[in-house]
Subunit: 510 residues, 2 copies
Amino acid sequence: MSQKRIRNKQLLTKVTNPYEASLLIKHGMTVATSGFTPSGYPKAVPQALARRVKDTGEQMKLFLITGASVGDELDGTWAKEGIIDRRLPYQTQNDCRDGINCGSIKYTDMHLSHVSQYISYGFLKKIDIALVEAAAITEEGHLIPSTSVGITPTIIDKAEKIIIEINTSQPLELEGIHDIYLPENPPNRKPIPIINAWDRIGTPYIPVDKEKIAAIVITDIKDNVRPLAKVNDVSQKMAKNLINFLEQEIKDGRIPKNLLPLQSGVGSVANAVLAGLVESSFENIQLYTEVIQDSVFDLIDAGKVKIASSTSITPSKEGLERFYNNISKYREKIILRPQEISNNPEVIRRLGVIALNTAIEVDIYGNVNSTNIMGSRMMNGIGGSGDFTRNSYISVFATQSCAKGGNISTIVPMVSHNDHSEHDVQIIVTEQGVADLRGLCPKERARAIIDKCANPDYKDGLYDYLERSLSKKKGHIPILLDEALSWHERFEKTGNMKVDAGKNSQKGNS
Amino acid sequence: MSQKRIRNKQLLTKVTNPYEASLLIKHGMTVATSGFTPSGYPKAVPQALARRVKDTGEQMKLFLITGASVGDELDGTWAKEGIIDRRLPYQTQNDCRDGINCGSIKYTDMHLSHVSQYISYGFLKKIDIALVEAAAITEEGHLIPSTSVGITPTIIDKAEKIIIEINTSQPLELEGIHDIYLPENPPNRKPIPIINAWDRIGTPYIPVDKEKIAAIVITDIKDNVRPLAKVNDVSQKMAKNLINFLEQEIKDGRIPKNLLPLQSGVGSVANAVLAGLVESSFENIQLYTEVIQDSVFDLIDAGKVKIASSTSITPSKEGLERFYNNISKYREKIILRPQEISNNPEVIRRLGVIALNTAIEVDIYGNVNSTNIMGSRMMNGIGGSGDFTRNSYISVFATQSCAKGGNISTIVPMVSHNDHSEHDVQIIVTEQGVADLRGLCPKERARAIIDKCANPDYKDGLYDYLERSLSKKKGHIPILLDEALSWHERFEKTGNMKVDAGKNSQKGNS
């Protein structure tokens, strides 16, 4: 096995066990890892470290930098043992999220395209350890990544020491799927030469300075991917609304006939929206995106995909099996790039990517909250939604019109946290319909969003807010400062956003 | 005169007077004009149209699209006569602003780099008339723009008819200063080949389809530029704080020794900050920016400028005289590009532009309001601040720590309108100091901003809000939903944000 996976003989001497490798990690260090949405992250050494800390009770606080979210074996075991002092840029793990929300983990929520830049510009602390999963090491000592690329090329370049986890559950057929290109820092940066989503511009491996490799561990722990919710009625309606919108845009000559490359965010709604394209009339679909979920395999099986460019493969457990079992077929259609490239404003704007992301809530003026529930509780992070939204050809946000069994309206007078401003958001899709905000003034945007997207249970309340704020004639954006966040206040007090819920907590209606 | 200014003889037959040209503009039309921050906008025809409407009382409602702000002769006379039905993307004129804030003008506040795209993607209505100022027309019928480029190349390409104002107050020596390059629409877009701020990649003229030229008017009305406030103590302190920060960044190896191209927003504070560089140790300064104000001439005179790339020259009245009188010297250092290029994410990120913009208010978590006072009253618009901020090497926002004689704190618990999110804002500069937010969590950001940037009169109030919101232990971002906007409410009620102002309007302190 080892000879196929570790082809450089000199490096065989670096092979050790996870415990020994974990001893390289010391209190106070900055550890950067591979992994992007629980795919291709290190698993054995993080678990060994957590066990060690649990057993010895030693002090261990680390700054953990990843590409995006990683699995239980890293975020989970470390958060439970109190190992994570500081964390960026994105996460989806329960214990890690709890730590962030109770304040024990200092979290910086960042655009994913900025992470490698922050590291290579020197904006973050020096990286002591790069801890990365690989499918193999080449004869030259270079790295073949596994199911994600993320920030791995940058941290391999910048870290003091490198620990590699060779993961034998990751098929060797992954070799050749990656395209590694890292831009230089300004003032020496050149144009990124991607003209089409299918262009390969780099190497199929990550160059490594062999001298920095401190340990190699062999493991077979599979990516602990997350389940995807079944496509349900609501998500099907959203997908249908979106596809109708795109078809109309093509009819009206605003999008080229063969579409443009699509980006689709992470999660069940995004997956369902893409799944809706299987039944659509679109052919030769291009994806220029950051994650590949199950629906992309459906699209490939339906013969509808020209290319899927991404930085990670993040299907469900069943989807991952399906990928492994048909890897020779799927790999022909997939390119995995560093997240600095998959999420790069330059390429996204050049290709004219159609950005499809999901919102926690949207306000009537078109601002979007993607991150903090009730303005405070971190869900996952902004991820790549900002990278794509701001630079896209058309930016779309999808959300179910209500949540918590109807007790939360996802359309609100004012977002409680703002990740995407009115200047960046063009199309809102709910199961109710589609609001096209392009070229509208705030008052028009409000009417479009309430009319087309709000849940019927909340329309009256939203119109009431809008009309009363308009009657104040105060300025360009109608706002009632004392009521703008009152829907969230009401939910916090009564568990229900509806205007007639908890009457005595309502303000300003007199 | 005409032969130097209108070198294509055939086009001499199109010369007419402003009134006749104005007859081409009809009720309900979409009119797009040249002009970017009151420079290079049409003046004679707009005035003639306003006079005509005033005299005849005829119905005249137009959709007005410009590059950015334009002068009184256009926004002012048209707003006064109620001619502007709809307006985008940016303005600074009092009557126009009043119309927007009272709701009689439907205003869409857009990123300036998006305007040409919206037009060429077909997202806005068909442009009936392109009304553009030029310094001259070449023998081939091509246009030599004047003191700005803005969206002129795009609207010349897309409009049904073209009206040209040859402005003889604009020196012929402007010829050669412009660099006209327009990207194709996706999927045919190529890399923009600017590698250095001084690269010229296009033509010195705007190609024109002569058949579309419907009228040519000759005028000598000067750009009605805006005065710049004298550099005062407060702005000098801000400039000093910023320069100290940049020098320290260079010492710490985070910015290259010879800096990186600078962008500086429009207005007196931005002008003062750049003026501060005259006394700095920096040499060979590059600007990759959207406006050139007086301070750039100071820097050129001091021998400190390698190149100033922009889309407009927007000095004060005295600055404009100074430019005209020394044009052969200044033009060697200046390139004027279309705003789709000057503000392009691709180029900004590649060059590593250091973005310096001004804020109306900043909240303790690092969100910035650039547009709407008290969340409602439109000031000017977001302009290019988002284009530069999001894609910059380092994004800096400067603001005086208080306004209205101390009655407004520009550092607030929550911004009343959000143009630049916590994910985009890295450095806050006030006359009090500099807060470096890179890599910090929300709680740390809050302490940095209050400590370093807030006005002493407001520090206790901000800390009080922060500590009480932290004590709720609700989540990642400490927030008191019922108090977050209470400072703005208090100002609206009492004219003062201070916590002890209008005690009975304060909530949630019990």
